[in-house]
Structure formats: structure tokens, C-alpha cells
Amino acid sequence: MILNSAELPISESFTKPTWDEVRRIYRRIGVLRATGRNEEAADLEHGELPRVLTAARIQSSAPDQEEAAVFAEEAERLANATVTAEILASLLAERLRLPAVEPRAENPRPAATAATPRANEFPPAPPRPVPATSPTITDLLDGMLSQETAAARTKPRP
């Protein structure tokens, strides 16, 4: 049997992100900073990173320890990667008889290393007008059903 109009909106936005996602975004921030794309790095750092970090912390049994471990490990990986890149760049430049690339003065680590985002740092919420009058339950149910319908339409067919 096939499910039809009962297909409901299911957001896994809060449960899906894991520490792996935190690592991925952290590394991305590091790469962006290392390549001078500071604005994009800042966007990620103040937007996506706090969101997934909070989600991961909530799912964790020891959030503080796990967070500290993840950031320490990723910071080390980024530092190692930066050193490797500098060595490789020098070797390649010498081999290609090009001027060696100067090591970047800027610390490639994302600022999150120094100031780890906490659970209360989140992207600004989209404005949601709160109605001045009390809504009827029937109207609220209509809202629920329209969400279900929208979710059913967007759900890919097997």
C-alpha cells in the first residue's frame, strides 16, 4: 500500500548534523581563510558552524569534551596541512623556477579555535510575524495540513 496525503514534513535539520559535519565545516573555514576568502569564512563561522555545532552537542553525551577534542584535532590537521602546503609550494616553485610562495602571515585556523562558538550563538532567525489576535485551532490545523501537502509534493517519488 502506498502512503498518500499523510506524508508529513520531516525536517532532520536538527538531528542530522553530527560531529563529522562540524569537522567538515571547520575545515572549510580553514581552507577559505588560507586562500584569503575571509568573508565566506566568516559567513560559515557565524552561520552554519554554530548551527551544526549545537545540533551535534545536543546529541552528544559529553558535548564539552567531544567539542574540545574535535576542534583540537581539526586545528592540528589544518596546521599540518598548511605546513605541508608551504613545503610543497616551495618545492614546486623551485622545480618550476618560479619565485617561492611566501608563507601566509595570516593564521589559517578559523577563529573558532580561539573562541569556540557555544550553543547560544546562532544565525539570525528569519522574521516571523506573530499574529496580534489569537488564531483559531481550525486555522492552525489548516497550517499543519498545508505543510503536509507541501512536504508530500516535494518528496521525491521512489
Binding site: M1, I2, L3, N4, S5, A6, E7, L8, P9, I10, S11, E12, S13, F14, T15, T54, R57, I58, P63, A119, N120, F122, A125, P126, P127, R128, P129, V130, P131, T133, S134, P135, T136, I137, T138, L140, L141, D142, G143, M144, L145, Q147
Partner: protein, 390 residues
């Protein structure tokens, strides 16, 4: 897709636990009742992991014909029990009856962490709920059932499948939202000094299997307005029992007894040691010091809930957040942990939130979800109900 309708209910055996998805449809505008079902009974049902609440009544008016809180447990009477030991020689017992006869029954919990984990027991439990709401067995039953916030489609489908042939029409609505509807004082709507919780509030519903948080801001909450954590009363019981087993090896305390101790003495915040409790173990009275163990176990809940709470506060619009902070309401069994409102409020103040007020919903904390569910059932139009089809 079959066209079988619930208007011809199938026996339980016709719907095996591994049955495929139950098809639901919404009638265009007219009811799909069979001629044999001459009356309709509305049911508001909070299908809790440890405790369930059912309210039932007619579609019109405000009368409530059934209002019960029932431990969510089914007891299957063991083979070989002598006649007369179990009242009425019943083969299946429910709730308190099952617990009182635990020596003679195999106890099954239909739910774990807010989801159906034992389909057969869940079906039997729902049949019992139906029999309470409609002892004649002839009415059309329309039930609004609470589900955890952001319940997955699978969780919802499991409930529909379980309810198939028992309820005729169904609506599944997130529990914290129903709690807000239940908590709303309809007689005060429109009063200048009354903040309608449905217009702007943050509900924290701490149950046995899940803690559910929901921004309720005058529209039906979207997924980002809700957070469900698989950490609630049961998880506290487990932590407490582990700790007690470590401190007092071979203490012989059952999980049921540990839960009872938590419900009587549980608190959050700084240690209130000593909390000395007399228990009978192996027939002898012992005094256990629970203060630190209770603090460790119960504070673990705060560690989980607080980040989720601030997450939802941050997601509220800047226009609404000041009023929202005045209307943070805790309900469910977890609301009875001593000091939970003051501790959460203190943490918010310390983190710089503007004049937050965290309130306990009150003595009806076990019933708000079901009250809201019955209100929703009474407000739902015919074409808003889902009809379960085989």
C-alpha cells in the same frame, strides 16, 4: 492500493505487525461513516512512553465523558494462573491493573523513547483506549494523537498502522503544540493582561521517552520550531540506577522503584545532599543517601534541554522574543523535578537573556497534551481528518 475502508473494521489479526503502510485520505467534505455508526466520539490521546492520558467526549459542547491517566503498559496473563487470581479471569490487563498483577503477567511496554516498540502491545493498548472511550463499540472514533516533536514519517506511520481498525479517523499533532492548546485558558482569550500561549510561547514537554520543545507563535510550528531530544525521564532513571548500583552494589532496586524515588525526591541544581531515603531491600530496611546521585542524574537533563531551549529562543524573531521570554512553560512529568523552572531561568539570566520567566504548567501537567488534543478534535473540520484505509 486497496480501497478497504475502516468503516468495516478488520479484526486485529488481519493487520499483522509487518503490514505495509496504511493509506490515509481526507474526505472532501462529507463524513465517511457507515450507517451502523450512529454517533461519534472524539478522543484526545497522549500516547506516552510511561503514562498515557485519554480524554473523550461528544463533538459538540465541552463535556468530557472520559478522563484517565493510565500507565502505558500491557500485562499478558501467564499460562497456568489459577482461576480467580486475576479479576474476571482476563487474559490481558492494562495500566495499573497490569502493574498490580505483575507477578502473574508478562509486562510489555508498547512505547520506547516516544515511538512504538511493541506493535502487538500497542494495538492492544489502543483497543483498551477505544473501549474506555466507547464501551458500546458502536461509535465512530475520531482521535487526535500526540506525537513527539518532529516525529519521522516512520514513527507516524507506525501509529497509523497500529490505530488502523481501532480509530476511524485520526490526526497526529506534535505533543508540545497540543500542550500549548491544552494550557490555553480559552475563557481569558481577549483579556488585555492574558498572554495567549498559542500566540507566543515556548513549550518544554518533558516526558518519559523524549523531551520536546516547541516555539508556538500563532501559526502551526514548522520543523525548525521544534526539537525532540531522546533524553527524558527514562534516561534519568537509567543514570540514577547505574549510579546507585555503583554506590550500593546489589541494592536490588527495580527500575520501577528507582523511578518512584526520582518522582518523589528528584531535583536539579546544586547538590542537596543528604537526601536520605528508607527502602526495603531483601526484607530489611536500609537508608540510602540519594542526594548526589539524584543531582547527577537530573542535571544531565538540564545539560540536554538548555542548549535546545536557547536554540529555539535564538530562532524567534527579534519582534517576538521579549514576550516569548516571558512565556517559557515546562510541562510533562519532568516539570515535577524540583527547581527546574528556577534553574533554567537562572541560566538564561546568567547568559544575558532579557528578563526571562520560566513557569511550570501546573497540576494538570499529565493532561495538557490530551486536553489540547480533544480541543483540536472538536475544532477539526470533517475534511481535516485523516481516514485510515487498508
Amino acid at each position: 492500493m486497496s480501497t478497504t475502508s475502516v468503516d468495516k473494521p478488520l479484526p486485529a489479526a488481519a493487520v499483522p505487525a509487518n503490514a505495509p503502510n496504511v493509506t490515509v485520505s481526507r474526505p472532501a467534505s462529507t463524513p465517511a461513516s457507515t450507517p451502523t455508526k450512529t454517533k461519534t466520539v472524539l478522543v484526545g490521546f497522549d500516547f506516552g512512553t510511561n503514562k498515557s492520558c485519554v480524554l473523550a467526549g461528544p463533538p459538540a459542547g465541552h463535556d468530557i465523558s472520559v478522563s484517565k491517566v493510565i500507565p502505558t503498559v500491557v500485562g499478558y496473563v501467564k499460562d497456568g494462573i489459577v482461576d480467580g487470581i486475576v479479576a474476571g479471569n482476563r487474559s490481558i490487563l492494562f495500566g495499573d491493573d497490569a502493574l498490580q498483577n505483575m507477578l502473574h503477567v508478562r509486562l510489555e511496554q508498547p512505547m520506547t523513547h516516544g515511538i512504538i516498540s511493541h506493535p502487538e502491545a500497542a494495538r492492544d493498548f489502543l483497543k483498551h483506549i477505544r473501549s474506555l472511550a466507547d464501551p458500546t463499540g458502536t461509535a465512530e472514533i475520531r482521535a487526535v494523537v500526540g506525537v513527539p516533536a518532529n516525529a519521522t514519517e516512520q514513527v507516524r506511520e507506525d501509529i497509523r498502522r497500529t490505530a488502523f481498525g481501532i480509530f476511524d479517523r485520526i490526526l497526529l499533532i506534535p505533543e508540545p503544540f497540543l500542550a500549548a492548546l491544552g494550557y490555553r485558558d480559552d475563557s481569558r482569550l481577549g483579556q488585555a493582561n492574558y498572554i495567549d500561549p498559542v500566540v507566543n510561547s515556548l513549550f518544554v514537554d518533558i516526558g518519559g521517552g523524549t523531551s520536546d520543545l516547541c516555539l508556538v507563535q500563532g501559526y502551526f510550528p514548522v520543523a525548525d520550531d521544534q526539537i525532540s531530544l531522546p533524553f527524558a525521564g527514562d534516561a534519568i532513571d537509567e543514570l540514577l540506577q547505574d549510579d546507585l548500583n555503583r554506590i550500593y552494589p546489589n541494592n536490588g532496586l527495580s527500575r520501577h522503584k528507582v523511578r518512584e524515588l526520582k518522582e518523589t525526591h528528584g531535583y536539579v541544581g546544586p547538590s542537596r545532599s543528604p537526601v536520605e531515603v528508607k527502602v526495603v531491600i531483601g526484607g530489611k530496611a536500609h537508608t540510602l543517601e540519594l542526594g548526589n546521585a539524584l543531582a547527577r542524574a537530573c542535571n544531565a537533563l538540564i545539560d540536554r534541554i538548555y542548549p535546545a531551549l536557547t536554540t529555539l529562543i535564538q530562532r524567534a524573531s527579534s519582534d517576538s522574543v521579549v514576550t516569548l521570554l516571558q512565556n517559557i512553560i515546562i510541562t510533562g512529568g519532568g516539570s515535577q523535578l524540583k527547581g527546574i523552572d528556577t534553574l533554567l531561568q537562572k541560566k538564561l539570566v546568567e547568559d544575558g537573556y532579557e528578563s526571562p520567566k520560566v513557569k511550570i504548567a501546573g497540576q494538570d501537567y499529565k493532561r495538557y497534551v490530551a486536553i489540547g488534543a480533544l480541543k483540536a478534535a472538536r475544532a477539526a473540520r470533517d475534511n481535516q481528518w485523516q481516514v485510515l484505509l487498508g
